[in-house]
């Protein structure tokens, strides 16, 4: 997937450059968080934001432009676009969140395992991460879907698999730093067990970069999920998923721009807010490594 990965882990800029960078060049400080709150609300209680049924078709009101009654217009089957965008958040966001959670968990475990194993095993795992990261994420995800078949759960699994190498590589590098640190040395001196040291000292200390990476990665996962849905591999119609909505709206572009505009805006704004929040976290935690 054309992912914003290069921005995920840039080298820390020199101090002079960092100081000069305007804090909020693009958006006022609270706007992204507020918008993300709104998206979370749509995921939790969609009925609160849109009363209409996202699946109720009304052929007589098909392709109505935005206006009273249908604030975002209606689609080619007369379904309310506002309701579909609001209810679609649940599909699109949960695909991203579950896939990211899976990828982070497996990435942390694999990275930790690699960083703590004997040299040959570590080398083998590290090379495997390298090879997987040479493949574009979308192709890797498509390879997984070719094995598992289409469907929401399979798309989640595919995106998670495609993102694991990125997390595993970071955690492996962190593990190398932490296992040489004072607290681990001290724990070894006190004769604590291997498992206790790993769980009590190594794990908490390698997790430092994860919140930032996962926030930005969530945006990537949402884009990947909507891309796979757009290709028809994700939630099947009539489910309101943002990528699938855009795929349907493509056929009605000439007559109904609103059917494509609003789900498109929803994806873009959500991912943009996640990226902004992620980068702010990154700036705040910059230089705070164990």
């Amino acid at each position: 997937m054309p992912a914003p990965t290069p921005t995920a882990l840039p080298a820390a800029p020199p101090a002079a450059v960092r100081r000069r960078r305007p804090r909020s060049a693009v958006l006022p400080p609270l706007l992204p968080s507020a918008l993300l709150g709104l998206v979370a609300l749509a995921v939790a209680v969609p009925g609160l934001l849109a009363g209409a049924d996202p699946l109720a078709a009304d052929p007589l009101a098909a392709l109505a432009p935005p206006g009273p009654g249908h604030w975002f217009g209606s689609d080619h089957l007369g379904r309310d676009v506002l309701a579909r965008v609001v209810h679609g958040a649940r599909h699109s966001i949960s695909i991203g969140v579950v896939a990211t959670a899976l990828a982070v968990t497996s990435g942390v475990l694999l990275g930790l395992a690699a960083g703590l194993s004997p040299r040959w095993l570590d080398e083998a795992l590290a090379r495997a991460f390298d090879v997987l990261s040479t493949l574009p994420e979308l192709l890797l995800a498509l390879l997984v879907v070719a094995i598992t078949g289409p469907g929401t759960a399979n798309v989640i699994f595919a995106i998670a698999v495609a993102q694991i190498p990125a997390y595993a590589r970071v955690i492996r590098a962190q593990t190398f730093v932490v296992r040489r640190s004072g607290c681990v040395e001290q724990a070894v001196t006190f004769g604590r067990g291997r498992l206790a040291i790993t769980a009590g000292h190594v794990l908490p200390n390698v997790l430092g970069p994860i919140p930032v990476l996962a926030t930005i990665g969530l945006g990537t996962a949402i884009i990947a999920g909507s891309g796979l849905s757009f290709l028809g591999m994700g939630p099947q119609p009539p489910a309101a998923e943002w990528g699938a909505m855009l795929s349907e709206a493509r056929d009605y572009l000439r007559v109904a721009w609103w059917e494509a505009l609003f789900p498109g805006l929803a994806i873009t704004l959500t991912v943009a807010c996640l990226t902004v929040v992620g980068r702010r976290l990154q700036r705040r935690f910059e230089g705070r490594t164990p």
Binding site: P2, P22, A25, T134, L135, A146, L231
Partner: protein, 301 residues
């Protein structure tokens, strides 16, 4: 250099092995897939097993697969019964055209953005970082949909779909190139600004060079170094984006082939596309490594 080649070959071997594992993991019996809708009798099944060598032990099949790959034999498609190599050969042209056009558009735009905005103060910086934020946040197919809505449906400048003529290439290339331009432009601009603060820039100005000559002849070379490290992302973005762009614009090409193969569970074709993209990645990253040496004399030693 030899180490570099060895690493590239190792990546290809691992990619081949990974796609072979994917074939093993694919559910359902290979024989079932091959029988398909045709008549299903024990004789036919036995014939298929013999023809495809499915009765041999796994390791022999794996080695035979690697041996065939070495000879450029990618196997046969389950769906069309044609050679996979043949299918890819007929479809590679449009994809190469699309990705090259997109890369050219992306790099040119990024260069323009960087040269025009570097050192122009806060407003320019804010505009470029806003553009970069949009570039990483908009799904690629949405850019295509917006371009279609504006330039094909409203203005009628470009055809809606197909691959006939250069006019049909413009919108797909922009769809694929714009996100690249956004990210690359931001990185190049940052590099340029840092280069322009360095002592050599002062020296060049003291020698009476115009600002334009300073940027194009001296500073741009420094700005290229961080940009080259984005090459992996760049290649992946082109290859992955090509899949979606081809489907959106109804263009023929490898991405199209990949999506059809995934939908039809045509594993040999999927594997071949994955292998091909690994090859492209290895070749491009090796070439860029060489470019890196040409740009930065400090790395030649």
């Amino acid at each position: 250099m030899i180490r570099r080649l060895g690493a590239g070959l190792a990546v290809l071997w691992a990619a081949a092995t990974a796609s072979y594992l994917a074939l093993l993991l694919a559910p359902g019996d290979t024989v079932d897939v091959l029988v398909g809708e045709g008549p299903d009798t024990p004789q036919i099944r036995a014939a298929i097993v013999r023809e495809w060598g499915l009765d041999r032990p796994g390791i022999v099949q794996y080695l035979a697969y690697l041996w065939r790959l070495l000879h450029g034999d990618l196997g046969r498609s389950y769906q069309s019964q044609r050679g996979v190599g043949e299918i890819l050969a007929t479809q590679v042209g449009p994809t190469v055209q699309l990705t090259l056009a997109a890369a050219a558009a992306g790099v040119t735009l990024a260069g323009l953005i960087a040269v025009v905005t570097a050192g122009r103060g806060r407003a320019a910086r804010a505009a470029v970082s806003a553009a970069e934020l949009v570039a990483v946040s908009v799904p690629p197919f949405l850019i295509g949909i917006v371009l279609l809505a504006v330039f094909s449906f409203t203005l009628g400048w470009f055809p809606v779909s197909g691959a006939a003529g250069p006019a049909a290439l413009v919108l797909p290339a922009l769809t694929l190139g714009l996100p690249i331009a956004g990210v690359l432009g931001q990185v190049l601009r940052g590099g340029l600004e840092r280069a322009l603060e360095q002592p050599f820039a002062l020296t060049a100005r003291a020698r009476g060079l115009t600002e334009r000559a300073l940027v194009t002849r001296h500073a741009l070379r420094h700005a290229l170094i961080p940009a080259v490290t984005l090459a992996g992302w760049f290649t992946g973005s082109l290859l992955g984006g090509a899949v979606i762009t081809e489907v959106l614009f109804g263009r023929p090409g490898l991405g199209r082939v990949a999506v059809d193969a995934v939908t039809g569970r045509d594993m040999p074709v999927v594997m071949a596309v994955v292998l091909l993209s690994a090859c492209v990645y290895v070749v491009i990253s090796t070439l860029l490594d060489l470019a890196y040496r040409a740009i930065d004399p400090q790395t030649r030693s």
